[in-house]
């Protein structure tokens, strides 16, 4: 049996609903219809009365989840696309994220954001918002890159007593497959997705796979590039990053969100500040371009980093 990343997300929700009667799902078209991507397929049938279609009201959806969490429920909220969470932004960063700090009341909600670009999706169905949410205190930001992580991290999200922004990547939904869900790895730890000694790529989500391909390309040139999969961008596992850079002396941070600030700037800033002496070359970063995400696949392919861009950056980095 082979499971996709999308199926892993469904299965994790199935498991969460099965294990804990306090879990419920709330989102647009997620009940009978099973969601725009079918991430909740059949769940309304398997768990009657626990999967709800919501009105098109992202602000109220998050607010309602916060209220439910206060009462001991553990809601999983699906945003139809990450991009639409901009409408629920205030409730996420000001209501959910501050609740515990202000009132000592835990806020166990999981917000699923179908994230990232796919061809032809355009400026409003392609965004990667992890950099935005990670800026705010009080949120946990997860960015699974594998089928296994999609499953285990979503399941663990529901157990976490804080608001989790679960950035699942739409490009991986069908592309990525695995035989089983393997072993759980704790949230907060990065993973060495590929060991190497000449340079370190720190990345996450769909960019992991582009990076792995680039590392493979560089192997043909005789380089061993280490690839670190962050898994969660906040908390960010600085120790694992620094240990890798200690081995390789070279850093390339790769992300799919917009280039100004965000995950890759945070990676580079941490490494430069905390492990300056370990660096043999200037740290580099690679992001999407500083424009909205283009509709036409020709443009889109150039907008986000892909294997070609990453290989080219690596060559620059290694040449230094």
């Amino acid at each position: 049996m082979s499971l996709t990343y999308l199926e892993a997300i469904r299965e994790a929700q199935f498991e969460a609903l099965r294990q804990n009667p306090n879990v419920f799902l709330y989102g647009q078209d997620i009940s009978t219809f099973g969601g725009a991507f079918k991430a909740t397929k059949n769940l309304s049938r398997e768990f009657p009365g626990r999967v709800f279609d919501s009105p098109i009201s992202e602000d109220a959806m998050i607010g309602m989840a916060v209220g439910a969490a206060i009462e001991g429920a553990r809601p999983i909220v699906e945003m139809q696309f990450a991009d639409f969470s901009s409408v629920g932004f205030n409730q996420i960063v000001n209501q959910a994220a501050t609740l515990f700090w202000r009132t000592n009341t835990p806020c166990p909600i999981t917000i699923r954001l179908p994230s990232g670009g796919t061809p032809g999706s355009g400026p409003f169905h392609s965004q990667s918002m992890e950099s935005i949410y990670a800026h705010y205190p009080g949120l946990v930001i997860l960015t699974p890159a594998t089928v296994e992580d999609a499953y285990w991290m979503l399941l663990e999200s529901v157990e976490i007593n804080d608001p989790v922004i679960f950035c699942e990547h739409k490009f991986l939904y069908y592309h990525l497959k695995s035989e089983d869900f393997g072993e759980a790895m704790p949230i907060g730890k990065a993973r060495i997705a590929r060991p190497g000694r000449d340079a370190t790529i720190v990345t996450y989500s769909a960019m992991l796979h582009e990076s792995l391909k680039a590392a493979e390309e560089l192997r043909l040139d005789g380089y061993e590039v280490e690839v670190v999969d962050l898994r969660s961008v906040k908390p960010m596992d600085t120790d694992t990053i620094l240990a890798s850079v200690a081995r390789t002396g070279r850093l390339l941070a790769v992300g799919e969100s917009f280039p100004w600030g965000g995950v890759t700037a945070e990676i580079v800033a941490r490494v430069s500040s905390e492990a300056f002496h370990l660096l043999d070359a200037p740290p580099m970063r690679l992001n999407s371009k500083d424009t909205p995400i283009p509709y036409h696949p020709n443009l889109w392919k150039s907008h986000r980093p892909t294997t070609g861009h990453i290989s080219a950056a690596l060559r620059d980095l290694l040449r230094y």
């Binding site: 647009q28 078209d29 009978t32 219809f33 725009a36 279609d53 919501s54 009105p55 098109i56 009201s57 602000d59 109220a60 696309f81 991009d83 639409f84 901009s86 409408v87 032809g120 355009g122 400026p123 409003f124 169905h125 280039p259 100004w260 690679l286 992001n287 371009k289 500083d290 424009t291 909205p292 283009p294 509709y295 036409h296 020709n298 443009l299 392919k301 150039s302 907008h303 980093p305 861009h309 950056a313």
Partner: protein
């Protein structure tokens, strides 16, 4: 006059019917309602902010079919130059607003244009119109914008196409009132209800709504009851639309109704209607042929600049 109006309308309906290759979110079943609004708007003069299912309204407003085709095909000659696509197209400088996906958020933009025209003395007899679906009425953006338009007493007509579903979500999970038109009184604006499958009725109600708003009575809300005859997008088989019987009346095809009305009133014969359809098909084919020949965007020639002010652009490329 009415006949002429109707003629244009039917033409546009046909074209909307013989719809575009690559189109994804269609307005099947909503053409009469959409076109009846669009026909009251003057291309290049009035402000129009159409939504997903307003292909018919767009044509009635005056958008060239070629622009539609170019946008769907993503060629650089189209108004969106491949940067954005399909239903997001528009030419704001002409008053033809280009929606973003976030439902409800276009209403305030259309209002702002009208507000500015009044302020700058360029309003004249122009008006604005925009649309929303039953689902979109649940957005805070929609509420804020309607309320603001009411406070500013703007000449705005808002069409609410209640097609009974928002994607798969039935209205029972979207709102709890009897009829969405009941919201009008709470905003202090005029509300109108209409059978959205009946072209003549739609024309009539929109004519009066536009008259009223032009006469200074502020925003008008026109709620049309109809049914989306198809899936949410072309990928969707709409298997969740449960009992066709339940939707018997709204479920009738407004296009067939309109054709019958045209014939009954003697505005067109069956032969003429067939001829219009043929012409429409020909026009669509022609646009498609033309657009297909045109260049798609080239990332190396793209400026990759989000700002119009060159000197402030950072050019943060890869």
């Amino acid at each position: 006059m009415l006949s002429r109006t109707l003629e244009e309308k039917l033409g546009s309906l046909y074209r909307a019917g013989g719809r575009i290759v690559g189109g994804v979110y269609l307005g099947r079943g909503q053409e009469a309602f959409s076109a009846a609004a669009g026909i009251h708007l003057r291309w290049g003069k009035d402000v129009y902010g159409p939504l997903i299912r307003d292909q018919a309204g767009r044509i009635a407003y005056g958008e060239p079919i070629l622009d539609t085709m170019r946008t769907y095909l993503g060629v650089v000659t189209g108004p969106m130059r491949g940067r954005d696509g399909n239903i997001h197209r528009g030419q704001p400088q002409k008053g033809y607003m280009a929606m973003i996906s976030h439902l409800g958020s276009l209403v305030s933009v259309v209002s702002g244009a009208l507000f500015a025209r009044r302020l700058l003395g360029t309003l004249g007899d122009t008006v604005g119109a925009t649309s929303i679906g039953d689902g979109g009425t649940s957005t805070g953006a929609f509420h804020e914008a309607i309320n603001m338009a009411a406070v500013e007493k703007l000449p705005l007509v808002v069409s609410v196409a209640n097609n009974q579903f928002a994607y798969s979500t039935p209205t029972s999970r979207q709102y709890a009132c009897e009829n969405l038109v009941d919201r009008a009184v709470g905003y202090g604006i005029d509300g109108h209800s209409v059978d959205g499958t009946d072209l003549l009725a739609c024309l009539k109600v929109f004519r009066s709504a536009f008259q009223r708003t032009r006469a200074g009575h502020g925003p008008q809300m026109v709620v049309g009851r109809l049914l989306r005859l198809g899936g949410h997008g072309e990928h969707d088989d709409a298997s969740y639309i449960p009992d066709v019987k339940k939707h018997e009346h709204e479920g009738r095809d407004c296009l067939i109704v309109a054709q019958q009305q045209a014939m009954d009133l003697g505005w067109a014969t069956k032969a003429e209607l067939d001829e219009w359809l043929k012409n429409a098909r020909r026009e669509v084919d022609k646009a498609q042929a033309q657009a297909s020949k045109e260049p798609t965007p080239d990332p190396y020639r793209e400026s990759w600049q989000a700002l119009s002010t060159q000197r402030l652009a950072e050019g943060m490329g890869q």
